[in-house]
C-alpha cells in the first residue's frame, strides 16, 4: 500500500511538471513582448525597456525561465501578474471560493438527481420512462451550456423577473445574515441550475449503463429470488457496485465541468475563475493564464489521485501494485 501510494504520488508530480512545462512553452511561444505591451508600442527610452525586461525575467533564456518557473511552482509561487500588479496566487485564491461554490452546488445537486434518474431508467429498461430519461439526458448533454444560460436569463430574469440576471450579490439585499444568504441563493439558482442540468445529462447516461451491467449479475437475481423488495435490491445491492464507474467517469469529465463553468460564469457575470480567465486572455496577462491552466490541471490530477486512492482503500477488489 505504501509503495503504491508513493508510486502514484511520484507519477502525479512528474505529470504536473510536464503539464507546467507544456503550458509555459505554449504561452511563451506567443508573438509579442510583455514589456512592449506594458510600456506601449509607441517607442520610448530603450533603457526603460531593458529595465522592464530584467524585472520580468525576460532577458533569461527560455529554458532558464522554465526551470525558474517550475521551481517556483513546486514552492507554491505561481509568478507575478504585471497587469494586475499582484502575485498570481493571491488573485487565484481570491476568486476560488466563488467558483467552488458554483461548481460544488452543481455537482452535488446533479449527482443526487442524476443517480436516481439513472437507476430508474435502468430498472425500467426499454419502457417509456427509460426512453424519456435517456433521450432527455442525451439532448441536454448536447446543447451548448452558454445558450441554455442565455435562454434561462431571458425567461426567468428578464421576462418573469423571478431571479437576478447575474452577479453574486446585490446591494439592495437586507443586511441581516439570513437576508444575505437568501440573496446569494437567488443569484446562485440559475447558474448552478444550468451547470447542474448539463451534469445530470452526463451522470444519468453513465449510471444507466453501469446499472444495466450490474443488474445482469447472478447475485441480483439471487437477491430478488430471496424476496427482497425491488427498490431495496436496486439501491442497496446493485447501486453500490455501479458507483465506481460513475465516479470514474465524473472525475474524468471534470475538465468538461470546469469548461462549462467558465462559460456559465461568463453568461451570469459570476465573479469566479472563469471570468478571470477571459479577462486575462483579453488583457494578455500571460502569468495569470499559465496559473489558471495550471490550477485546473492540478485540481484534475489531485482529484484523480484521490479517487484512485479511495478505491484502493474501500474496494477490496482493487489490487494496488
Amino acid at each position: 500500500m505504501v509503495r503504491y501510494l508513493a508510486r502514484r504520488l511520484v507519477g502525479s508530480i512528474v505529470l504536473l511538471v510536464v503539464v507546467v512545462a507544456l503550458t509555459f512553452l505554449l504561452v511563451r511561444l506567443a508573438p509579442g513582448d510583455t514589456a512592449v505591451t506594458l510600456a506601449g508600442s509607441g517607442g520610448g527610452d530603450p533603457a526603460y525597456f531593458a529595465l522592464l525586461r530584467e524585472r520580468l525575467g525576460l532577458n533569461q533564456s527560455v529554458p532558464e525561465q522554465l526551470l525558474c518557473y517550475i521551481g517556483g511552482v513546486l514552492r507554491g509561487d505561481l509568478g507575478f501578474s504585471v497587469v494586475r500588479g499582484r502575485p498570481v496566487r493571491d488573485v487565484l485564491l481570491e476568486r476560488l471560493p466563488a467558483t467552488l461554490l458554483l461548481v460544488g452546488t452543481a455537482i452535488t445537486l446533479s449527482t443526487i438527481g442524476g443517480v436516481i434518474l439513472g437507476v430508474v431508467a435502468a430498472a425500467r429498461r426499454k419502457t417509456w420512462a427509460d426512453g424519456a430519461i435517456s433521450s432527455c439526458s442525451l439532448v441536454v448533454y448536447s446543447l451548448p451550456v452558454f445558450w441554455l444560460g442565455q435562454v434561462a436569463v431571458g425567461l426567468f430574469a428578464v421576462r418573469l423577473r423571478w431571479l437576478p440576471t447575474g452577479g453574486m450579490t446585490s446591494i439592495t439585499a437586507s443586511p441581516t445574515r439570513l437576508g444575505r444568504l437568501v440573496d446569494l441563493g437567488r443569484h446562485l439558482a440559475l447558474p448552478a441550475g444550468i451547470l447542474g442540468l448539463l451534469l445530470i445529462g452526463l451522470i444519468v447516461r453513465i449510471t444507466r449503463t453501469a446499472m444495466l451491467e450490474v443488474l445482469q449479475e447472478d447475485y441480483i437475481a439471487a437477491a430478488r429470488s430471496r424476496g427482497h423488495p425491488v427498490r431495496r435490491v436496486l439501491f442497496c445491492h446493485a447501486l453500490p457496485n455501479a458507483v465506481r464507474p460513475v465516479l470514474t467517469v465524473v472525475t474524468s469529465q471534470l475538465g468538461v465541468i470546469l469548461t462549462a463553468g467558465v462559460l456559465v460564469e461568463t453568461v451570469f457575470s459570476w465573479p469566479g475563475l472563469g471570468r478571470l480567465l477571459l479577462d486575462s486572455v483579453l488583457a494578455r496577462d500571460n502569468p495569470m493564464l499559465v496559473g489558471l491552466l495550471l490550477l485546473s490541471s492540478m485540481s484534475l490530477i489531485v482529484v484523480n489521485l484521490a479517487t484512485d486512492l479511495l478505491y484502493a482503500l474501500v474496494d477490496p477488489r482493487v489490487s494496488y501494485r
Binding site: 439532448v139 448536447s142 451548448p144 484534475l300
Partner: protein, 271 residues
Amino acid sequence: MTRLLTRRLKPSRRLRLGLLLLVVIAVGTAAAGPFGGDPFRPGTVTLQPPSLRHPMGTDHVGRDVLTRVSQGAGTSLSVAAISALAAALMGTAAGLVAGYAGGLLDEILLKLSEVSQVMPQFLVALVAAAVFGSSRLVLAAVLATTFWPSTARLVRGEVLSLREREFVEAARAQGAGGSRILLRHLLPNALPVVVINASFQAGAAVLIEAGLAFLGLGDRNVVSWGAMLADAQTYVGIAWWLSLFPGLAAGVTVLAMNLAGDGLNEAMGIH
C-alpha cells in the same frame, strides 16, 4: 472494409436518426452557399421578428438570421470535420504502432494521453486562440492535437486484445509481415472504435468552436453560431429569435453527432 462494417451493424434507431439529421444539416449548408445572400450585408429593417421574407428574423443591423445560421453551419462542420479526421488518422496510426510494438513507444503514448486527460481541451484551445490568433485552421489543429491521444489509447487497447488472437496467429504462421498484419488484420477490427470516438469528438469540436466564438475568440472572417449568440446576449428578452435559432442549430448538430456515436456503439455491441 465497408462490408466488414455493415455486416456487423444491427439496425439502430439512434444511428439512423443521427445520420439523417447530419445529412439534413449538410444539405442545408450546401444549399445556403449559392442561394443565400451575403451574411455580412446589413439591411434596413433591424430586429424584425420572423416573417415570410425573413423566416428567422433579422438581427440588430438588419442581417438575415437564416442566412447567417446556415452559413454558420459551414464554420462548425469544417472545424469539426478537420479536427476529428486528423485526430482519427494520427490516433489510429500511433495506437496501432504502439500497441503492436510495445516498449518505449507505448510508454510515451500512455504518458501523453495522461497529460491530455488533465489539460481541459477548451481551456487549451482558449489559451491557444489568445496566443496564436483565432483562425479556423489554428483551432482545428489545436483540437486535433488534444483529441488524438484518446483515440490512440482506444486503438492501442483494441490492438492489445486482438494481437494474441488466433486469426492474427494464423496470419503470422502464413508468413505475413508486421505491416501486413497491422493494416489487413488489426486495422479493420479497430476501426469501429475510431469511428465512434471521432463522432463524439466532432460533437465536442462544435461545442468548443461555439464556446470560443461566444467569448469573442472565434474567427472573425466567418459567421459562427457562437458569435451570433454573443451578439444576441445584448438583446435577451427583446429579440428571442436572435438567441433561439443559432442555439438550436448548434444543439441539433451536436445531438446528431452524439446520436450517431451512440447508435454505432449500440449497433456494434461495444461498451
